[in-house]
Amino acid sequence: MALTRRYLEPARVPEPVVRRLRVFAFDPSLATRIATASFNEITVAIPWEELDPGPIGEYIEVVDVDPASGVFYYPVDLDHPHLLARDGLPPSESNPRFHQQMVYAVAMTTIQHFERALGRTALWADRRVRRPRGKYDRQFVRRLRIYPHALRDRNAYYSPSKKALLFGYFPVASKDEDNTPGTIVFACLSHDIIAHETTHALLDGVHPRFNEATNRDVHAFHEAFADIVALFQHFTYPAVLESQIRRTRGDLDSESLLGQLAQQFGRATGRGAALRDALGSRDEETQKWTPRAPDPHALESTLGAHERGAILVAAVFRAFLLIYRTRTADLFRIATQGTGTLPEGEIHPDLTARLAQEAARSADRVLQMCIRAIDYCPPVHITFGSFLRGVITADLDFSPEDRESRIVFIESFREWGIYPDGISSMGVDALAWPTGEERIKELAADRSDTREPEELQGNLSEFVRQESSQWNLESDRLAVWENLAQLRGALHSWLLSGDSFGRDYARIFGLEIDPVEAPSTVSRDQNGRPAFEVHAVRPTIRRTARGMTSTDLVIEITQRRAGYYDEAEQKKMDDPARSRGKRDRPDFYYRAGATILVDPTTSEVRRVIRTPGTIVDTTELDQVRGYLRSGGGLRNAFDGGAQSLRDRDYGAREEPFALLHQLEDQL
């Protein structure tokens, strides 16, 4: 008896590592096409967490309200044993609970890619609460809210104010060749749309002011980056690629194959036309798909945000193809015994599997490179060129041994005419952001009063040691958040402390804290000193070349200056003699600053990534003014509320009298 009971006693079962959930790989309209039906359902594995109905986990809360229909949909319980036993609900358009499962699964996959690339837990953008007397408090937002059926529109967007993703649905109009009139299309069933919008939310959590459009590239970058994540996340599922590779016998003309696939995704996210222009197109007569050759002058004449963004996607896509080709060259040599010509008939299933695996790995590599780069971008005023520098520098830090991928990126970007301003060459060295030491030497060459690197380092290390001793990155995300908030404050007072070390650091970071040097339009604190905002401090864990893990601190500091459209007015307001009493509302804000990477164990300033100009820089201010006055930048890059998917579909939007789409300026 006792023996039996012992056998019956539940054994301690460890938590599973992952939860497997089924999703559509493409939008459901492709599920009913024979060519794509075979691989449209895939199973994704996401890190295990206990879920409340919703699903509601640590990062995501799906709340399925449909105000236009006046209903709530009952939440799916993914922890129900029946669902656990069969990888969640089977894909279905007509079951809203599957929709909830799918947005959860895909959004979590994207989050996972970010966490892995950036080496830290993902945090959403803070909620800013307005307090009396113009003060703001930050509140911690634990979960991104997802509303799968929020709108009746061809639309889906991230709402920065609600910290939520809103997805729409709409009945198909009669003319759509892929759909049946009257049936309903759900944006929340498109893998790529979910990944795209989740990326917007993640980026907002990383860089609080990243989306302020101060040049042509800002909007374009946001769209392109979200597309890149969606696209390459998609390529990381080997199942998606396998059937295509089999069907085309691993045709070496991989550009055609993968380019077409990329376009399928483009079609699903509604950005087909722009991507089509950037990647290539199918000849109307011969039906043969031809890739578009990179055009180094394309950017010069392309001003619309989506078209510019498509060029960045094309450049990254080309880098991916080059990596993939290099990595599969040996496989083709083996399979063809060096002839380069495959025998007639189907290719060996093993070869298919290997090719698909390599494609998926290449995609993952590209995805990681691109995501890592966002820690290596200036805090505001992103350009395609500085993104390239970010990609290269981050990759130098994370994978120093794999030179090839960096060279391929540079090659592809150069072929598309993407290069940063003010660098002497397109070599890896020139592109990498300077280290603290290099900055100090640079400054020392100009001025004699700068301290030696060792001396400065000593001072910093004291501060960092004090502040970083008690954080724990594994604890609850709220605790991490509190820790980082404290660190932000401490860093601010340290830099401000007024001793000469702070001043030296400010100079290295490209800040202006001298009350006399700064024009009066630069924001000041209560004591009349130029103010700066430490708007983010975050850790990032990477593996060093020797296999150790190392934690860096990523610090973003910006300053703000009032800008006026009228240059004469600007001059008047800049004048130090002007009384600093009541201020008029400026026409715009000009921001400048730096992202700084610090290694807390060695107190080394590892990278200094500055905006093109400092806050005193009038030329930069003029450029921003020029851009804003030309009608750009009136809207914030996330403000997709009015950008329907259909609009994105038109290479250049068919729009409008009003300016919802005025970003697409032509000519």
Partner: protein
Amino acid sequence: MPPAERLRPPENGVTVRMYRQGHGDCFLLAFPREGGGEPYYVMIDCGYKPGSQAYLDHRKSIADVVKHLHASCGGHLDLAILTHEHQDHLNGIWKTPKPYFEIFEIDETWVAWTEDPTNDLANDLRERHRDQLLGLLAARRELAVAVGEDDVAVTRLDSLLGLELGAGAEELDGDSLLAAAEDPEKSVNKQAMKLIKDKGAARKGCFYRYPGIPPLPLDGAAGVRAFILGPPENADLIADEDPHEGEGFPEGNPFSLTGASRRTPDERSSPFRRHFFVPLKFAFQRGTQKEAPFFVERYGTKPAEKEDVDGLEVPDGASWRRIDEEWLYSAETLALKLNTGINNTSLVVAFELPSSKKVLFFAADAQRGNWASWKDVTFKDGAETITAKELLARTVLYKVGHHGSHNATLAGTADDAEHPNLAWMGQGSAAAEFTAMITAVTKWAMEKNNPPWVHPLPSIREELHRKARGRVFQTDENQPVRPNGASEGEWARFTDRSVFDPLYFDWTVLDE
């Protein structure tokens, strides 16, 4: 105001008058009459965006402008052209009860084929437009109840819907929109159209013009011919999103925005089967709460003022995360599409002078879709074929599309045969004379619209100034400035043929 004098063309050529009534179009063209006598007059549109006139120096109302127009043509128009059905092209025509244009004599009226009651596609498009408009007006009403009449989302929507309805010469308000909602056929736009169409029909006729029909001689203006380039006969132009009546749903597809807004909340339905959902009104009730506290906990019911805002962490069910009205905001996107669709139904006319073959090109509010179609438009002229590209090359006057907005003037090169663009215009001998007219009040457009309307887009404006070497008339600029590159002689040749009046600009083209 002293009575205006008649507008008189040169013996050999044409005088174009651009009225400066506000942000909108109103043109009067005077050609010498065949066999002598009073000139042959053509009017193209008469309307403006209410409020924009206040930004102009002349301080005249639309009534004054129409009075001036009436005197300038002696109350007689040989031809009236209404390009498309938008407020800023029509509201100077109609007012209740006494229409401004009641006293005009009109011999002939031209409108686009999209008005043709015998054309199935045109009827279909109009039907769809009406359907959508009704839905949008209903959505607007609901949104106003939810967020208040003064909310910026509502005023923005009103401005867009105002274009479609006309809604009177005064500032728009909820009441006039409501009245229009009850019967869109009574809108200012529709009535203005009807008045001018009826007047023409009673004399020589009201004609529905199709692109590519053989050149039309102006009956009375010796040798002057008109070419119709747009709108194209293509339903995609008036791209709309929702299936409409006739596709099985009497009030639009119930799952579309407009389909839902036209139904009462109780009549609305979900696209999913009944066992998947609980209606909102039951979700927060006691019985349901026990069954599914999820909705109360996660979505929340607490009003904002009763919420805890002091915690470190955002509370569950926070009020600021709810989305009760969010779907109604999409109405703005739809309204924009509607606007674009109608802009693309613009009748695009080119007038050709008899001996010099110079062309005056009136693009109305044509946007990308309309422009793109010109590449395939050709005209049979006896044995010859004339292409749109040839007409554009001979263009000496370009009435800039849609207030100079971003995709109503396309960029490109002269040798690109596929994509009609600005570079096609004013080639060869026409280059020295090429002149542009922009009907825009920029300050009003930027300040009174949210988001601002960038009219004209600076890059388009700059390109026009460059191409025309400064010869650009703009409603809100009293006189163009001589650019650095232009000699005094060159500039004088332009200004000598121009009149810069606070109320209008005249520009004369000689047929030589």
